[in-house]
Amino acid sequence: MQRLLQLFLVGVLFLIASERTRADESRSLRFEADVRPILKAHCWQCHGEEEDVKGGFDARLARLLLKGGESGPAIVPGQHTESLLYKRVVSGEMPPGKKQISAGEISLLARWIDSGAATARPEPETLLAREAFTEEERQHWSFQPIRRPTPPNVKQPGRLRTPVDAFLLARLESQGASFGPEADKRKWIRRLYFNLIGLPPAPDVVEAFVTAEFPDAHERLVDELLSSPRYGERWGRHWLDVTGYADSDGYTGADVVRKWAYKYRDYVIRSFNSDKAWSEFLVEQLAGDELLTPPYQDLTPEEADRLIATGFLRMGPDGTGGPNADQSVARNQVIAETIKIVSTSLLGLSVGCAQCHPHRYDPITHADYHRIRALLEPAYDWKSWRAPNARLVSQWPPDIRRRAVAVDKELQDISQQRNGELDALVRETLAQELAKLPAEIQSRAKAARETPAAKRNGEQQTLLKEYPFLSIGRDTIQQFVPDQVTMIAKKWDERTAAAKKKRPADDDVMCLSEVPGTVPSTLLFSRGDFNQPRQEIAPGELSVLNPPGFTILPNDPQLPTTGRRLAYARHLTSGRHPLVTRVLVNRFWMHHFGHGLVVTPTDFGMRSEGPSHPELLDWIAADFMRGGWELKRLHRMIVTAAVYRQVSTRRQELEAIDPENRLLGRMHVRRLEAETLRDSLLALGGQLSSKMYGDPVPVSPDVSGQGIILSVNRFNSAGQVVRGPTDLGEEVFRRTVYIQVRRSMPLGMLELFDLPAMTPNCERRASSTVAPQALLMMNNPLVVRETLAFATRVRREADAGLAAQFQLAWRLAFGRPPLAREVRAGVKFLNAQANAVRAASGKPETGTPDPATSSLAHLCQALLSSNAFLYVD
């Protein structure tokens, strides 16, 4: 009875609660668009994709459903209740186990059968390509060529500032809405500063901008910020998220440090600052090594950059240099992670999902995955692997290299001489000891020693046991003549140390390169299992994206390397690839507005929501290419646009039609990211260091257990901390982008504010709001230190009066002058707090700030903890 009722209820659910049917009822159902995706997701694994088709039933075409399998036809058009497919699915019998087909999907199958089981077009006679794509898949929006649509007409052309506005405003107008009011100049400059350089604007800069009369004041400010070195530090960091930048190998608990990764970080920052064309930037990162000639010595700075750029392909976790790694697994994992990074960052597709079987939702075949793998295989040859250290390429210039070679020679000589002396001592000792033996044994003993161990007869072996000195060598001589050995060792150890001192410091590049002359084959791994290799796969583009006639040579005879990655990189940056620029500009857009036009920056596939403004996305992508792939040009167009000038205030009429603000009828309110928060605290305290580039600021666990801090701990051989953190001096005030990224050691403050874990990369940051963040702003020593620095600075720079101090602190933190009532409240707080501090502290200890500074520091802390500081309008 209960079961019947449940069935009845499920039936009702089919009719009323399905997810997609209601929206779709108006149009007729077609196999390709409506039914195929359901069958592909739930049935094909057994009924189509495997070598053995279960029950002789292949579910990949509508006509094959009609034909059916061993149990007869799967569908009876017009009668879903008579159709085996429907019966098996609704009873829960299929798919095996527990059904995962939703009520909505079942209902859709039923309606499709009832409406005659139609297809959109005649189906192919044969399924030659086992994984042939449908027209719907081939026609998916993101696989189509990028057009450059004409910006639409709008009702209020007066509101347009740059071409992007037209697309947005037209859409808003079509829904009866419009852009919001313009934000005042103070709001805009604060937004622009945090957005472009990740730091707050100084009050005098704000005032100069607000009072500037010239009409292009906004544009001038944008140019100024885009030419600031701080810009590359801010926007380079976005790209480092996508590439999964880390200063450690990850994979194992050891999390080995990557000493040279920082050069890639610096290359990225430099490239952003110099506005390197993205076509070039991408080619260098994918194939910079192939633009050079091995063995990559004596490179000019530009050439070195190309090599360093390939660090992009070395950013994934790599456990192959760690202890106890299962090498086959670890090596293949490096390749898999690199494919993930490349495909999510540049293609906006989760190619990684096709590692073991065809992609469940997107038209990416199992072979496609291996085509991409084949691009990397000559550099990542898992059968002939190079561990991380073996991939380093030295950048010593000739004279330094000569010095190093000379030192190495000297070290070799020292070693030889030491051995010579030891050998002489061995001979001498042996002779002395032999002489002590009875004369009749001496010659036999000598012969026993001189006979190779394997050839000694029984008597000789006995002799050696009886007279252990007969076995002495360099290693054991110490036991016989300890003093002399110690003397020799001391002398040569000193010389070794002296020689080593002369050896120049290493200067290596962490890069990806091929071993010239070796071209490993890429085999398709059945089910992703490297123990089940199948046919060989040639390098190439995903087949759904492959333009007619485009192929990649397996081994370009014109190049010392195979040229595979270079050919692919040129293909991606040819200006004709449908995904690369769409994916890139969508991500740039996301960093300006908080959301991309496509909300899933790494998924432009069949399951993604699609762009909110398809024409705008295409227009920007086309314009980006037309403008020479220059990002700063795109920045200018976006940040000077009307959409970017709006206030963030929610409006009733807009909320009603667009609560998630996909249409951008206002700006989003956004929280500062982890780096921006820390950098801004340091900047307001007047302590931010402007030192760029170089070795990262080290992190290590705090001895007192307060988490990860900026420090270098010294350990003894037992792994205990023997000496506290080294004083890092000014280094601790450097921008956060220069702090070491140990995958296993996120800096406490940054982690709380959602610094991503690089596993392997980060497509989009989280922005959380939890009480531990509040605790950090209230109690953390760094915050307290910086608020005190902030207060000290304010006292130094402002007049003596409390009101003046308050006003300066307020303007520094928020970029606007306080209202009169805000000044009153602030001064009241300062007075009350100073009095209380004064009353509480009896005799002031040396080193503690005076009550006036303390209370000002408390005020600064409140300002920096407030939403007006932590969020950008």
Partner: protein, 481 residues
């Protein structure tokens, strides 16, 4: 019908009536007369306790999420047939999770099962302490998600579906019910010291629910919550005045930003943080517990100390009115692709005693009746070998075991079954939708309370999926309609 439920509910609640249950009693008529309205954008969100629409049987939950996929055939689901066919080829259809080293040889672990408790539940010798709570738990041997990658499986079990970007279970519960304790986060996460779990923050994210409903992570080592102590110079009234001034400027700012939930959540986070300085310190201070209790949880033993401490903290949090606590096992500790014979006993040793202690302790304190305890991973493991050289087992999302205890589920009860070798769930199959529908039922929630209006429609934990309350495992199943 309703009165029957209510009477029954009251008769059960002579002692230890939580404020949630009380609120339900006081409010139910009003609520029935005035159904919950869909949220308006201007709605403010808080963590005040909210009554469910039906009498709740559970008012709090501790979920022990054993990431990696504990091996059901070695721990919870004895299979004589598997033993009999040990090392024979399995001919049935099997879904390997695609990683290497797949084998078709069946493998029966070297461990014995025995009947435990009065109920005679068969459990492995690897979990002797859990055997002591056999009469308190409800073991489900027929779990099924149908998928077997870690990420989608975790999403299925912890966010309702295998899609990305959905609110976690804890976020739904505190969104719907608030918290009994306004001095501690309503949803707390106890992470393992060996690393963040797979999917990291996604495990406790609020996604498109307002940010006040996201999980707060308790650090795996001391200080469990960083920055809990103000510097000497800021203690007491000094900090209170700073916070009071801060809230003043935040209120002004919020007035200019109506409808920005995140700003409101941050304002509330400072109130919470201020109270946590005392409350969290007290709640996390296990030195207040007796030596006996420490011993019970295995805190006196290096092997069980870490997990035991977290179990004890979970109890202390629940005792103080925290709505949802999730304990994560180490980073994939249960993911035994190889070396299972050695490593499965190790992870069992670390977790067995504290787990049993938690259930016993909750029961002893009268908390188990209203606290739902969950123990389980995102999937189970295959009955066949992975890696014949160093035997392990591959993922299996088509049949696995987990257990619930307290909070209205039957005690000493086994539900469902897998096939003869423990591969696929075949009898009374429970999938993730069913599991979540059952949770909502136990908490007295209807679909309305656990849903949120979004731009593209209403989002909910169940989200229109065919989830059904698993009536046979409930002490008080829903009446037939």
């Amino acid at each position: 019908m309703l009165h029957g439920t209510r009477r029954h509910f009251i008769s059960q609640q002579v002692f230890g009536l939580g404020s949630l249950a009380m609120a339900w009693l006081l409010n139910q008529d009003n609520l029935l007369a005035d159904p919950t309205k869909p949220e308006l954008e201007s709605r403010a969100f808080d963590l005040k306790p909210r009554p469910p629409v039906r009498a709740p049987q559970a008012t709090a939950m501790i979920s022990m999420f054993m990431q990696g996929g504990p091996s059901q055939v070695d721990l919870f689901d004895p299979k004589p047939e598997l033993k009999r066919r040990h090392l024979q080829d399995y001919i049935g259809d099997i879904h390997y999770d695609a990683v290497g080293q797949a084998s078709t040889k069946l493998f029966s672990g070297p461990w014995q099962f025995s009947k435990r408790g009065e109920c005679g539940m068969e459990l492995t010798e690897l979990l002797p302490q859990m055997g002591r709570i056999a009469d308190d738990i409800c073991l489900i041997r027929s779990m099924h998600t149908g998928i077997s990658g870690h990420e989608p499986s975790i999403r299925a079990m912890n966010t309702g579906r295998f899609l990305q970007g959905r609110p976690s279970l804890g976020s739904w519960l505190v969104y719907a019910l608030g918290s009994e304790n306004q001095d501690l986060p309503a949803f707390m996460v106890l992470r393992d010291p060996t690393g963040t779990p797979v999917l990291s923050v996604e495990n406790w994210q609020n996604a498109w629910l307002p940010s006040i409903f996201q999980g707060t992570v308790v650090r795996p080592q001391e200080p469990r919550i960083a920055n809990l102590d103000p510097p000497v110079s800021l203690r007491g009234a000094t900090q209170r005045r700073i916070l009071s001034y801060l809230q003043g400027i935040n209120r002004d700012h919020f007035e200019r930003h109506p409808g920005e939930h995140d700003l409101a959540a941050r304002m509330q986070s400072y109130d919470m943080a201020a109270r946590m300085q005392v409350a969290a310190k007290e709640a996390l201070d296990i030195s207040q517990e007796t030596a006996w209790t420490h011993k019970l949880y295995g805190i006196d033993d290096a092997v069980t100390r870490d997990y035991g401490t977290r179990c004890l903290i979970a109890r202390r949090l629940i005792e103080r009115g925290v709505r949802f606590v999730q304990i994560f096992s180490g980073n994939q500790h249960w993911d035994h692709h190889s070396g299972i014979v050695k490593s499965l006993p190790e992870v069992c040793r670390k977790t067995d005693k504290p787990t049993a202690a938690l259930v016993m302790d909750l029961k002893r304190r009268g908390l188990l009746d209203k606290t739902l305890v969950h123990w389980g991973g995102e999937m189970g493991r295959l009955p066949v070998i992975q890696n014949e050289k160093n035997i392990g087992r591959d993922h299996n999302g088509r049949g696995f075991s987990m257990w619930l205890a307290g909070g209205g589920v039957k005690a000493g009860w086994v539900h469902g079954a897998t096939d003869e070798v423990g591969h696929k769930a075949v009898e009374d199959v429970v999938n993730h939708y069913d599991y979540h529908a059952t949770l909502l039922y136990l908490f007295g929630l209807d679909s309305q309370q656990a849903s949120f209006t979004r731009a593209n429609g209403t989002g909910s934990l169940i989200d229109g999926q065919p989830g059904q309350v698993v009536a046979p495992i409930l002490q008080h199943p829903p009446p037939l309609t």
